[in-house]
Amino acid sequence: MPKFCLGIEATADDFSVGILDFNGNVLANVISAFIPKMGGIHPREAARHHGKVVGQVISTAFQEAHVKPEKLALISFSQGPGLGPCLRTGATAARALATYLDIPLVGVNHCVAHIEIGKLATGAKDPVTLYVSGGNTIVSAFEARYYRVFGETLDIAVGNCLDIFAREAGLHQRAGMPLGAIVEKLAEEGNELVDLPYCVKGMDLSFSGLLTAAIRLFEVRQYRLEDLCFSMQEIAFSMLTEVTERALAHTEKREVLLTGGVGANKRLQAMLRTIADEHDSRFCVVPKQYALDNGAMIAWTGILAYEHGKIIPVEKSFVRLKWRLDEVEAPWVGG
């Protein structure tokens, strides 16, 4: 009898449900994105969106996977880090399902899940991982039971930096076209490098100065938006590549994994591939459908944790808004 896990992801603007079998085959991965009419993600409005679509997304996932609810062995959900109201909406759905079906519940760390799905999809075994998204910018590698953080942003995430700039520049997100993708497209039309601050501190990074400088330059209206997008990407991605290379040189691992939403950017991929090649390491990039927040990664990490006995009782399944990557013991990782 094959066993299945259903995973619920709801840390920020995406509500997603994935269903996997225990061998790691993705049978369904349904994503419903909350697109704000204006501004960034308002946690309460995003949560309202999630509450509205939860039933529909779950039943679509069951249909796509051709799995009946009774066949599930396990429910997993993103327990943190993320926006409180969104996390609670996802957690509520997960608890209800687990209780109704009377099967175990597993709480998954969202950052770990991004790494695990990257490893599953690319076959990477022990990579230096650059995890870049709207909420996170982390360079990590596994050492003795934990994913260690070698470097991270000291202020805002790189995706956040690009998103805020795009909004300030009057760009709007559309279905299937996140702000980062719009910036990437504009950047392809840019060719003149505008001077912006490059800020690397050891293996840590800072993007807030870059963001402020870019917004100011946009406001004086002397530069083409295309050139500003191009320059922001070049500077920000050079910073990311530099710290990833530093972690690679430091850990001497043989694989580089790029994961998270910003990982879908072709320019960033090209830069990282260059350093991986230089250090005789294999470059792995998470496929697009698993780059953004998705339920499949939560289901898969749930399976890994479950197989090591990491289930949680419903009454202890509180969400953890600020749960760090390096706080999660990961006994399923070999080595």
Binding site: R148, D155, L193, G202, M203, E234
Partner: protein, 221 residues
């Protein structure tokens, strides 16, 4: 002969005028635009040589510089015989480790006291020589500054290096570093810096103490 392929530069062990020397070569990085690349390599080559000198004035041992070649972005400097602190720290006894970390803390204190920020304080960038001297290398990310913020980030990087590479001893090591640091800059200054480190860390993502720290800071004005 290439002895270390770093992220930023490659180190070659060469003979130069009958001396064993290190040539630190910042090669062009193909991943970044030539404009960005040149700016960074030039800036770092100049600053690194200046800071190696300032560090000596502060009483911290650093390699002797023999030649700075801006055109090719390389620096020829003294080869330091010894072991990277990274390689030996975990193997020491508790007492030896504490002693070494205090010594490192004192040296960081001397740098900061003289307005030098190292910029990449990791145990890979410290070499323990046979006579027990610690030599600091790789000032490529450093700068001259007396700003509290930069000193705080510098020490935060040291702490992070312990947490990622010497996780079993991270806490005791960093505590000893601060003890050594206090011997140079004084207890009061060390308290101020320690608070700054907490503040810097609380700006990061997902720090459970963030709210508490912010309250503490605002209540203290």
């Amino acid at each position: 002969m290439l002895i270390k392929k770093g992220a930023e530069a490659n180190l070659f062990l060469e003979r130069w005028h009958n001396k064993k020397v290190i040539m630190k070569q910042r090669f062009p990085k193909k991943y970044r635009l030539p404009e960005i690349d040149e700016r960074i390599r030039n800036y770092r080559t100049i600053h690194e040589s200046q800071l190696l000198h300032h560090a000596k004035e502060a009483g911290v041992s650093t390699p002797m510089i023999f030649l700075v070649n801006l055109k090719d972005s390389n620096i020829i400097m003294e080869f330091i015989e010894g072991k990277q602190v990274k390689q030996i720290l975990n193997k020491l006894s508790f007492k030896e480790r504490k002693h070494l970390c205090r010594q490192i803390g004192e040296l960081i204190g001397q740098l900061h006291y003289s307005g030098v920020i190292h910029g990449d304080l990791t145990t890979s960038n410290m070499i323990l020589t046979r006579n027990g001297n610690v030599v600091f290398v790789d000032f490529g990310l450093g700068e001259k500054s007396v700003e509290l913020e930069l000193r705080g980030v510098d020490l935060h990087l040291m702490k992070r290096a312990f947490q990622s590479t010497h996780f079993l001893h991270a806490e005791e090591c960093f505590k000893a570093v601060l003890e050594g640091y206090a011997k140079v800059v004084g207890d009061e200054m060390t308290r101020v810096i320690s608070r700054k480190i907490i503040e810097i860390e609380s700006r990061g993502r997902y720090i459970s103490e963030r709210r508490k720290v912010n309250n503490d800071l605002s209540s203290k004005g």
